[in-house]
């Protein structure tokens, strides 16, 4: 899932959460596939940010998935011998993969390795 400003919304993206106005009014439900018409309507109604499935937009300055995983490794470099923290790192790595590629991808990855 990724949160993006409405101006980066594109036809074909799928909502990962309801699209709501800053006042909290729900305009469009989760799992809706966006088209130009819908995007225009959301903009008109004042929606600023939406959550979409996958990770379709690379924001300026944002790291790629493999870079993010490398950074994760680096942060844990002083606690590598701690089993609890090793497990935590593993979960966070999986979370990063799922956020970008979806749960099926992780399953495939697990089966493959």
């Amino acid at each position: 899932m990724q949160r993006i400003p409405i101006k980066l919304a594109k036809e074909g993206m799928v909502l990962a959460k309801d699209a709501v106005t800053p006042e909290g009014q729900v305009l469009c439900g989760v799992d809706t596939s966006l088209n130009e018409e819908l995007i225009a309507r959301l903009k008109r109604q004042g929606v600023l940010v939406i959550s979409v499935q996958g990770h379709p937009v690379r924001m300026p300055g944002e790291l790629s998935l493999s870079e993010k995983l490398k950074e994760l490794d680096k942060r844990f470099s002083k606690v590598q011998n701690d089993p609890v923290l090793r497990a935590l790192k593993h979960l966070l790595g999986e979370h990063l993969v799922v956020e970008e590629k979806g749960a099926e991808f992780l399953e495939k990855l697990k089966k493959g390795s």
């Binding site: 940010v49 680096k74 002083k78 606690v79 609890v84 923290l85 497990a87 935590l88």
Partner: protein, 281 residues
């Protein structure tokens, strides 16, 4: 400089914004057992700037109340006086922090969010108090930065370049860690021990004389928020975990997974919150 001298310097802190006069008045009022949240709220609401800051904080996502809190007396009823008082006492400090160290500000907000999530799961009576402890756990770093800027700079640089923890370098260079410094200040402000101990012992929670569970939650939340990589706590390393503290609050793998997902959502909201602050200036 030795430890005693440092303590002396920290005792009459000059460069940090002073406590708003309203705090001592509120302290007096709270000592009076007849006092009600409505009366307290009225006093605070006389100060409009403070009120709007306060309401912005209590409505921010790290407390996560579903409905909007629109009055100070409501905030006192829902969050408790300890939380409101701490937010008032620290509001000017957080302002300084937003301007001078956004990374530490985000680290603090993120830690508060993690504390809230874990405290709620553990059904602690006032989870907002634990969030608040998380919010100010690195108070000592802010004090160091403003009171001993050269030493602070040297400590941060050494931690980064030599791949060491900040608190180790603090101990070597000035003989006292930021936890202890934060605890001193919190005590000076008459914050309750439920908040003082978790701040003071967030890197050695089992040594806290009391409120070990809250200290353990803050300890682990600090680790978790660094592990996620949100904000900047001074050095970039995930701190060591105290396993006795972990035994106290132990989370299963599936609970941990849920917490990571929940925290991720909160952090997205928090980013909007810090962005809003930046925009409004």
């Amino acid at each position: 400089m030795d430890k005693a001298e440092i303590k002396k310097r920290l005792n009459d802190i000059q460069s940090l914004p002073t406590l708003p006069p309203i705090v001592s008045k509120l302290n007096e009022m709270v000592a009076d057992e007849e006092i009600t949240a409505v009366k307290l709220g009225k006093v605070i609401e006389k100060d409009q700037v403070l009120t709007s800051k306060l309401l912005k904080m209590v409505n921010s996502s790290f407390f996560g109340f579903p409905q909007r809190i629109s009055t100070v007396s409501n905030a006192i009823v829902l969050l408790g006086f300890n939380v409101i008082k701490t937010l008032i006492v620290t509001s000017s400090i957080f302002e300084v922090m937003q301007a001078s160290d956004v990374g530490l500000f985000e680290h603090s907000l993120g830690c508060a969010a993690a504390c809230g999530i874990i405290a709620k799961r553990r059904q602690i009576k006032n989870p907002e108090e634990v969030s608040t402890a998380g919010l100010i756990h690195d108070l000592g770093k802010i004090v160091l930065r403003s009171e001993l800027p050269e030493e602070y700079e040297a400590i941060v640089t050494e931690a980064r370049e030599k791949g060491r923890y900040m608190r180790e370098v603090e101990k070597e260079r000035i003989g006292i860690g930021h936890g202890e410094i934060g605890g001193m200040l919190a005590r000076q402000w008459n914050l309750p021990e439920r908040l003082v101990f978790p701040i003071e012992y967030h890197h050695k929670p089992e040594q806290a004389p009391d409120f070990k569970e809250i200290a353990a939650i803050v300890h682990f939340s600090d680790i978790l928020i660094r592990a996620v990589g949100f904000g900047n706590g001074g050095d970039p390393w995930v701190p060591a975990l105290d396993h006795n503290a972990w035994e106290r609050i132990k989370l299963t793998k599936s609970q941990m997974k849920e917490i990571i997902a929940e925290l991720d959502e909160k952090l997205l909201e928090l980013q909007d919150f810090t962005l809003e602050i930046k925009v409004e200036g």
